[in-house]
């Protein structure tokens, strides 16, 4: 078990007092920012990036590991305790956890979320450590054309499979690809689409775009339709996590992990599908189906575990191939590039100590979250009560800090506002913003590999389908593009999770004769 030896080595590096302090700081900052309403994990990582600028890479990535898991955990706390819906990957936790909190079981909901995150995070991080070297061994032989095909698959998956509207996902992706083109071409040194502005010849900084789309765009969008009136935060009160709760939670945790990790690890990764699947499964298997929709603990435990396992799974393509499949992963990749670290299949060999320390820090951060978060819940509740005008003013303050600190150039802030306004309109019309961030960071990588492949073949496009890897991957691309269109023709538009719940089509063992919707949950056991 070579991987385990490396992991133990990484643990040794991460367990110095100084590095533990960075991990602790990362976990605390990540959770505190992630708890704030309106701030998802991607925005948490983007906003906290400047904190790590001054650190050397190892410390920075140890802190990043803490921020990453802390941000994920903070998000679920928000959705349980705040009486309003949040982002889609935590919507399942929100549905049941929120109801539990209303019924005075807030403490139990938070506990099952925290324990489930810990169990799922630990298992999934260990899986990451075991799988990564194998994937690298497979990936070392792939050609530039294969690499291009995988990038295309990631584009298509992120743009069309994950969102509600494939065309809007493609639109967002196109914007990101365009922003990635601006600057100097790396292979020939020619300027492209810089409009003669000298600052643009270095390209548009990923941090600026991510902060603009997530933080500024979000602040503007919330400002345009702010929920007025007092903030309703539910108390984390009620009976503590009981033996009965544990009995009902542990299987959903494991099943959620089993859903989350593989989905996260696929180039079509993301947390939404596995959380959704986990919720549907728990509902089917539960002995208390009548509680679903009214605060079933399985409905918090399963999706929350799936969410966290997917977050670890996303790191598989990121660390082994250099392919980001979520907005958060794109920002982490940008951080690698910021340190001049070459990502891709060689990362695990060239930067072996750094990567294994990062993975070990994920385990440590995960454990810290478990120990810290339940005692600190009172603090998180206070953070949720921050008056919204100050909260969003503060988000803009940190957006300004992060973007100005990159180059100390006010032009970056003007760019931040312009792209932020773009993000505002995108949100307004339901264009997902994550594909734009992924397009921006993955576009240049895809282009380099495409041109490398075509240079080797002398311009013959046939090289793109020469190997079996690229044929299979491009086949999947085709499937991802055509599949949804066919499905829509057959079944009508896809329902959102809320609609499914309201229509009751996710019901467990529907009594015979009761009408059911024509939806994706047709399979009945037996």
């Amino acid at each position: 078990m070579d991987a385990l030896g490396d992991l133990v080595g990484g643990l040794g590096d991460a367990l110095t007092p100084q590095n533990l302090l960075f991990a602790l700081l990362g976990v605390l900052l990540g959770t505190a920012v992630g708890v704030l309403p309106g701030i998802g994990p991607a925005m948490t990582v983007a906003l906290l990036l400047p904190v790590t600028y001054v650190l050397e890479p190892t410390s920075a990535f140890i802190m990043f590991a803490g921020i990453y898991y802390g941000g994920m955990y903070g998000g679920s706390t928000t959705s349980i305790l705040l009486n309003t819906p949040g982002e889609s990957s935590s919507i399942m936790t929100a549905l049941e956890g929120n109801k539990m909190a209303k019924a005075g079981r807030g403490a139990a909901a938070l506990a099952t979320a925290a324990l489930g995150s810990f169990v799922a995070g630990t298992i999934a991080t260990l899986l990451l450590a075991l799988v990564a070297p194998t994937v690298v061994d497979l990936a070392i032989g792939i050609t530039a054309a294969d690499y291009f095909a995988i990038a295309v698959l990631a584009f298509v998956a992120v743009a069309t499979v994950l969102g509600a509207s494939p065309l809007r996902g493609l639109a967002s992706l196109g914007i990101g690809l365009y922003l990635g083109l601006v600057g100097t071409d790396v292979l020939t040194g020619q300027e492209r689409f810089t409009l003669g502005v000298p600052q643009l010849s270095d390209g548009i900084d990923v941090v600026v775009v991510a902060v603009a789309l997530f933080a500024v765009g979000e602040a503007l969008y919330v400002a345009s339709r702010l929920r007025r009136g007092p903030v309703q935060v539910m108390g984390a009160s009620g009976s503590w996590f009981t033996r009965e709760d544990l009995r009902r939670s542990w299987k959903p945790w494991l099943r959620g992990t089993a859903f989350g990790f593989p989905f996260g690890a696929l180039p079509a990764g993301g947390a939404e599908i596995p959380t959704f699947l986990s919720y549907a499964t728990e509902r089917k298997l539960s002995k208390h189906p009548e509680q679903f929709g009214k605060g079933a603990i399985e409905g918090v435990a399963g999706p929350e575990a799936a969410n966290n396992a997917a977050a670890a799974g996303v790191l598989v393509p990121l660390l082994t191939l250099g392919i980001p499949t979520s907005a958060t992963a794109a920002i982490i990749l940008a951080a690698f590039q910021g340190y001049g670290i070459q990502t891709g299949p060689t990362l695990l060999t060239t930067e072996s100590p750094l990567v294994w320390t990062l993975i070990a820090s994920l385990l440590i951060g995960n454990f810290m979250l478990l120990v810290l978060n339940l005692p600190l819940v009172g603090l998180w509740v206070k953070l949720l009560r921050i008056p919204r005008p100050y909260l969003y003013a503060g988000i803009l303050m940190f957006a300004s800090l992060g973007s100005y600190a990159v180059n100390a150039d006010p032009l970056d802030l003007v760019l931040l506002l312009v792209i932020g306004l773009l993000g505002f309109f995108m949100r307004r019309y339901g264009w997902p913003v994550a594909p734009a961030v992924i397009g921006l960071i993955l576009g240049p990588i895809a282009e380099t590999n495409l041109r490398r492949a075509l240079a080797i073949s002398g311009g013959d496009l046939g090289v793109l389908v020469e190997s079996w890897v690229s044929r299979i991957v491009l086949g999947l691309v085709l499937l991802a593009l055509v599949g949804p269109i066919v499905l829509r023709l057959v079944r009508g538009p896809r329902s959102t999770p809320e609609e499914l719940q309201q229509e009751g089509t996710l019901q467990h063992r529907v009594p015979a004769g009761r009408g059911r919707g024509d939806d994706e949950e047709e399979e009945e056991d037996r």
């Binding site: 309106g38 083109l181 919330v222 339709r225 803009l396 300004s400 100005y404 019309y429 264009w431």
Partner: protein
Amino acid sequence: MSTAQGLPPDAAPEPTPPGEQPGRNTGELVMAGLLAALGLYLVLDAGSIAVPGSSNQVGPRFFPYLVGGVVLATGIALGVRVWRGDQGPADESEDVDPTAGTSWQAVAIISVAFLAHALLINVVGWPLAVTLMFATVAWALGARGIVRPLIAGGIAAVVVWIVFVKALNVALPGGTLLEWATDWF
């Protein structure tokens, strides 16, 4: 439908009357039009990218043509879909009231405040510029009074500046007064 006829691609989206469900076709149609225009620009402008002599391999124009083509096609297809009445799900967030009308005023005030602070940073320093931006944004979002947002923003900006500049060595202009006052650090 008829109101969207012959819309120039660069027109600003029409303000939505309060109370009406946002996401009416017009605004997104403009977005789709702009996207198609961006695709066209990419395709046209890619032709003017200089290609260095050794042209036996794929040069810097190929990928822009590809991206431009995809963007153009997506813009047109989306435009057609929106024209037919297709609507995307507006973004969800904890603090968004889905039934509220759009407050263009708040968006405009915040944009102007942010632009002003960007231009002021190198003149009066980051803390002061951010304090003014913070207070304006908080005021636009309904914070009570003028003094409290100013004080809150001022304290936050100075604390953040001290932490990042003095402890983390991030380069941020502090303004004459603050830099002089914290010189002894």
